[in-house]
């Protein structure tokens, strides 16, 4: 019975990974897969046909090719933002949880402020002031996103700090840095990976929102940017469904893939539970 639950728990994550692998393949082999240059112009407003599988937009660019190249941009922004978010969140959480006291007070004060700031408006304002380059978007996405991860990791590290094996490390004369890296980090790796996967999903959503609002990276065709074009360049008015449904679908599939991966319970898959030992 238990064995079956374990497999079921994994099935979702494996599905997510297969989806992610497909998406990554599309991103890597975009030039080979895309039938046209996404920037090349042709006949506008063509509905889907055998020549243009997903039709063309208002200046005649092939939408399928736009989507395939857009995978690169959306994934790059999502993964980079999630990576930075997770690194900052982990560092803050581990330091606050491990040292406690004044370090914890200061770091958590900052974290709490970041948590209560409404993140999308702040991101919008930041992007509006920074230049709308790829990296500035990524930075803007990271500014508030790390706080949740930091709080989760802090809570777990506070428990770990009390564990006898951490006490034992101190009696062995191990330094704080060593204990945090070698003994604490592996024990929160499950949370880090799960939160990391979910961060990619939320970063991609935020990026889509920003691009939709016209605050995306200039000159980059992300999925959100295609959506923005469809909306503001008469795609919706002209009822060009082939222009605005596909990017929405792509974003959904990608977000679902990362959420499925994030549902993977690391400890269960190892067949052991720290607190049950």
């Amino acid at each position: 019975m238990k064995q079956r639950n374990l497999l079921q728990g994994r099935a979702a994550a494996v599905t997510g990974m297969v989806l992610l692998l497909l998406i990554l393949l599309v991103a890597v082999f975009a030039p080979a897969l895309a039938p046209y240059d996404p920037w090349a112009m042709g006949t506008p407003y063509l509905p889907p046909s055998s020549e243009h599988l997903l039709g063309t937009n208002d200046i005649g660019q092939d939408i399928l090719s736009e989507l395939i190249y857009g995978t690169r941009v959306s994934m790059f922004i999502g993964v980079c933002a999630a990576l930075i978010t997770t690194i900052i969140g982990t560092a803050v959480g581990v330091l606050a949880g491990y040292f406690g006291g004044i370090v914890d007070h200061i770091l958590m004060a900052v974290t709490n402020v970041v948590i209560v700031v409404p993140s999308l408006p702040l991101t919008v304002v930041l992007v509006a002031y920074l230049q709308a380059g790829l990296w500035n978007i990524i930075i803007a996405l990271c500014v508030t996103a790390w706080a949740g991860t930091a709080r989760l990791i802090r809570a777990q590290v506070m428990q770990l700090r009390q564990q006898p094996f951490v006490q034992l490390e101190r009696t062995l004369g191990m330094g704080n840095g060593y204990i945090m890296l070698v003994h604490i980090l592996p024990n929160v790796s499950g949370i880090i990976l799960t939160r990391g996967a979910l961060s990619v999903a939320s970063a991609m959503l935020s990026e889509a929102s920003l691009s939709f609002l016209g605050l995306g990276a200039l000159g980059q065709k992300s999925w959100g940017a295609i959506l923005n074009n469809a909306f503001f360049r008469n795609g919706v008015v002209n009822n060009c469904w082939w222009w605005y449904y596909p990017p929405i679908l792509c974003i959904c599939v990608c977000v679902v893939a990362f959420m499925l991966i994030g549902s993977w319970d690391d400890r269960r898959s190892r067949g052991q539970n720290l607190l049950a030992m």
Binding site: Q163, P164, F165, Q167, L168, E169, R170, T171, L172, G173, M174, G175, Y178, V182, H183, P186, N187, S189, Q272, L274, M277
Partner: protein, 307 residues
Amino acid sequence: MLEIQNLTVRFQLPQGTITALEGVNLTLRDGEKLCVVGESGSGKSVLMLAVLCLLPENACVSGSILLDGEDLLQKSQKDLTEIRGMKLSYVPQGSGNSLNPLLRLGFQVSESLVAHRRLPRRGADQRSIQLLQQFHLGDEEQLVRSYPHTLSGGMRQRALLALGIAPEAPYLVADEPTKGLDSDRVGLVVDCFNSLEGCSLLCVTHDLTFAQQVADRVAIIYAGQMIEYETAERFFGSPRHPYSKALLDAVPERGLNAIPGFSPGHEDYTDACRFYNRCPCRTAQCQTQPKDRWDGERMVKCIYGAP
């Protein structure tokens, strides 16, 4: 030489102050093996944690703990990190998570050697195997590659002993190293401790049979006070304090005569001798606390306690 002078440990709690340890004086000479014996809650673990300078932050420590003449209580955290790895080693209790569940056993047993002695990882695994073989765990080559949750309680306790003796530190502090071991395995621990040449051992235990086999000297702790400090030979022959006598009478081999009553809780401390309520030979004089009666290297905290 480890000298504990007038060590008092109090804990500040919301309900008030608790005195866990009161005026303890102890000397652990080089190469000597000292067993600290006491009931649960008597303060023996606090004594051990005080020596390791690992008491929680709400502890208020006074007195001094001199390790080779240097007071550990005055040391900075950085200095303590050095001392703990090289001079002072520790064998923790095997129950609970004393080993990191996500790291292989071999890594953890020789971890201090890699960190402090710069032993290469490969050599460290070999050393782990040798150390574990000393405790007859069986199939040690396989064991160093396995994770702690695959070990039984007794195996984990022995692995922790291997871990504790790995740095070959001149001072070893052990916390109930025989807990959960059957008598054959206790024999292995005894052999191990007796073979530690030149290592001074401070061992907290309530296994009197084990203490008799290992100790050169015995310290009895009762309700936060050290009540007897004696060479093992004399202690197991003719204990001086009535509590010590009662303790030895409670050993199965000597008739399993349990001491009636319980040791007093921290809120019940009075001016009387702490053992007053349970003492078979109490008199009116015992209404005031007896002084530590030192007689050279021996001590008894009782007005009787024949020399």
